[in-house]
C-alpha cells in the first residue's frame, strides 16, 4: 500500500482533449477562436433551447457563453479541479453558470411548455408508426417537463449532447455515480409515463 522511497506516484490518466490544438491556437491568437465557436455553437444553443424553451433567450445565452469563453480562454486549464477537464466540459460549465443567472432574471416571466416551444420532430415515413411514436414522444416530453432541473439537464446532456457520464459529471459538478443515478431516475420517470395508458 505504501510506496518505497524513490518510487514515483502513479500518474492519473488524463483523457486527451481533442480540442487541445484549437485551444492552443486560440490562446496564441484570439482570432483563431472561430473554429471552436463553429464546432460548438449548435451544441450550446441546443442545450440553451432545452433549458429555456425559447429560441430568442437561447440565442442571448449562446452569445454570453461564447463571449465569456473567448475572453476567459487564457484562464482555461485542461486540468480542472478533479484533474480531468476538457474544453467542451469547460464551455458547458460556463453555459450552466450563465443559465443560472439567466433563470434568476426570468423568474417573473412565464415559460412556454417545452414541446410547444420546440415543436416535435418528424418521425419516420410510415404515417401510422409515426403517429404512435409521436404520441409516445408527446408523453415522454410531458414526463421530461415534470422532472427536477438536474435530472432533466443530465438527460439532455446524455441524449442530445451525447456526453459521457464523466463529462456530465464535470459540467454539473457532481460525481459520476450521482450522474448515473440522476439519469436512471429520469429515464424511469419517462418509462412510467409511457407505461400509463
Amino acid at each position: 500500500m505504501f510506496r518505497k522511497a524513490g518510487e514515483r506516484a502513479p500518474e492519473r490518466l488524463v483523457p486527451y482533449d481533442v480540442d487541445r490544438p484549437a485551444v492552443e491556437a486560440a490562446r496564441r491568437d484570439p482570432r483563431d477562436f472561430e473554429p471552436l465557436y463553429r464546432k460548438y455553437v449548435g451544441q450550446v444553443y441546443s442545450f440553451a433551447v432545452y433549458e429555456l424553451h425559447d429560441h430568442h433567450a437561447a440565442e442571448d445565452l449562446t452569445e454570453q457563453v461564447f463571449m465569456r469563453a473567448l475572453v476567459g480562454l487564457p484562464r482555461f486549464e485542461e486540468r480542472g479541479t478533479d484533474g480531468l477537464s476538457t474544453f467542451r466540459v469547460w464551455l458547458f460549465q460556463i453555459a450552466r453558470n450563465a443559465l443560472a443567472n439567466e433563470r434568476r432574471g426570468r423568474m417573473r416571466h412565464p415559460q412556454a411548455p417545452l414541446e410547444a416551444a420546440l415543436g416535435l420532430p418528424a418521425l419516420g415515413p410510415d404515417p401510422a408508426a409515426a403517429s404512435l411514436e409521436r404520441d409516445a414522444l408527446d408523453r415522454a416530453w410531458q414526463a421530461i417537463a415534470r422532472l427536477p432541473g438536474d435530472r432533466r439537464r443530465a438527460l439532455v446532456l446524455r441524449f442530445v449532447e451525447e456526453m459521457t457520464t464523466h463529462e456530465i459529471a464535470g459540467v454539473m459538478g457532481r460525481s459520476e455515480g450521482s450522474v448515473r443515478v440522476l439519469i436512471h431516475r429520469a429515464l424511469r420517470a419517462v418509462a412510467d409515463e409511457l407505461r400509463r395508458d
Binding site: T62, E63, E133, A140, F159, V160
Partner: protein, 142 residues
C-alpha cells in the same frame, strides 16, 4: 439502485455509439439486466430528442461579434494591456451585488478596462510629450 444505474449507463453508451455509427439496433436489449421499459424509453429519447441549431443569420452575426472582440483583445495586448486579466472596479454608489456588476458582464467590462488602460497610457504619453515640447520651447526662449 447504483448497480441498475451502472448497467443502464453501459446500455446507453452502446445505444448512443450505435446511433452515431448508424448501426441497426436489436429488437431486445443486449443487456438483459436493463429494465425493458427503460430500454424502450431510452430508444425513444435517442430518436426523439433532436439537437437544435441556431439560424444562419444568428450564427454569422455572433461570429462577426466574436471576431471584433478578438481584434480588440489583440490590440489591447499589443498596447501592453491584458483585457482578460483586467480588474473590475465598481462605480461609486454601486455595490458588488449590483446587477450592473453581475458575473456575465465581467468579460465585457474586462475588455473595457483593458481598453481604458490603453487609452489612459496614450493620453498620458501625449501629455508628457506636450509638456516636454513646451518646456524646451520655453528654455529656448530664455
Amino acid at each position: 439502485m447504483t448497480d441498475a444505474a451502472l448497467r443502464l449507463d453501459a446500455y446507453l453508451e452502446q445505444l448512443l455509439a450505435d446511433r452515431e455509427a448508424r448501426r441497426p439496433r436489436p429488437a431486445a436489449p443486449a443487456t438483459p439486466a436493463v429494465d425493458p421499459r427503460e430500454a424502450v424509453a431510452a430508444d425513444l429519447l435517442a430518436r426523439g430528442l433532436v439537437r437544435f441549431h441556431p439560424s444562419f443569420r444568428f450564427e454569422e452575426a455572433l461570429a462577426a461579434r466574436l471576431r471584433a472582440t478578438a481584434d480588440s483583445m489583440r490590440l489591447a495586448a499589443a498596447a501592453g494591456g491584458s483585457p482578460a486579466e483586467g480588474t473590475l472596479l465598481s462605480f461609486p454608489g454601486l455595490s458588488a451585488a449590483s446587477p450592473m456588476l453581475s458575473r456575465e458582464r465581467v468579460p465585457a467590462r474586462g475588455l473595457l478596462v483593458g481598453g481604458a488602460i490603453a487609452s489612459g497610457v496614450s493620453l498620458a504619453g501625449a501629455a508628457i510629450l506636450a509638456w516636454r515640447r513646451g518646456h524646451r520651447l520655453a528654455s529656448e526662449g530664455d
